[in-house]
Symmetry: C2
Subunit: 183 residues, 2 copies
């Protein structure tokens, strides 16, 4: 059983070490983790970004499931690159799991960086007048309900861990769920 | 030929009108646009978010192609909900097209809201020490190269239009390309 391990983890300074920890946890639960190649190619070489894309896509095609890290990245929502991969696996009918180390609702997260108000039509809007999804969900409904219907509901800790980028408890819960469902 | 019209357009106050304009442009080019249902359900009804999800997924399953609006949304990158849909369609082997009304590179966009520096290892990093993709691409490589390989390269104007949310020139270019490729 192969599981593609998506997430903005690849952008951390210790990305390679975190990938090794994630793969070790997978092995402990009897599954094989495949970690994206972003840090395994020469970034200065011509065509490096395409090489990473092709490698990651081949890994996804070879995997039975995905575990995506949807912890907010440079904004109130998940990393778009990671979310692309979640969608790609859902489109292929693969098993979809995700975790998020920030248990706040999406509306709460948006309110951290911009003024959020309720309009006359009861719509919640940001400072630019754009609607803020207000279903009490932790992120955009497309990802949250994709998990509900195509895998397992989003795994979140009760409280934000001290190190949201390196705490792998919620990740391990996903691995356990995936191993049960694939087994 | 049906084309799913993904984008954060659904969060604009005039979302319904923009959807109508997009569908009109599709009709003019001989294809049928399917616009997400986010504004066609009673948002206060129980289960509204799941109803939207199921409706949008059914529309995607019924479509031959997707045109996604990847204009940056609440941060330096595209709207994650839209990107989920792009990935979903790519995973199904459907034709993928997108446009973006902000022609800046991803690294330039990140630098608008946070201090970006180059580390000793030549890695471009943000204020949190997270790597900033630095391939000169306008967004995360997964979306950009998915378009290159699974449809048509990202369509962008030479200069940012005055109204990035309502200028549909780049959208119309995508419709023309999709009609040619599907025809």
């Amino acid at each position: 059983m192969k599981i593609y391990l998506a997430g903005p983890d690849v952008f951390l300074p210790d990305a390679v070490g975190i990938g090794q920890r994630k793969c070790d946890i997978c092995r402990h639960h009897g599954v094989t983790g495949l970690y994206p190649l972003d840090n395994a190619v020469d970034l200065a070489a011509p065509g490096a970004s395409m090489q990473i894309f092709r490698g990651n896509e081949a890994m996804m095609n070879a995997s039975d499931a995905i575990i995506a890290n949807l912890t907010p990245f440079r904004g109130p929502g998940a990393d778009p690159g990671t979310v692309y991969e979640l969608g790609y696996m859902a489109g292929q009918g693969k098993l979809c799991l995700s975790y998020c180390n920030d248990p706040a609702s999406y509306a709460e997260r948006v309110a951290r960086s911009t003024k959020v108000t309720r309009g006359a039509d009861n719509r919640l809007v940001d400072a630019d007048g754009l609607t803020v999804e207000d279903f009490g969900l932790p992120d955009n409904l497309m990802m949250i309900h994709a998990l509900d219907l195509h895998g397992s509901p989003l795994v979140m800790p009760h409280a934000k861990p001290v190190d949201i980028w390196r705490d792998l408890s919620a990740f391990e819960t996903c691995v356990r769920l995936a191993a049960e469902k694939l087994g």
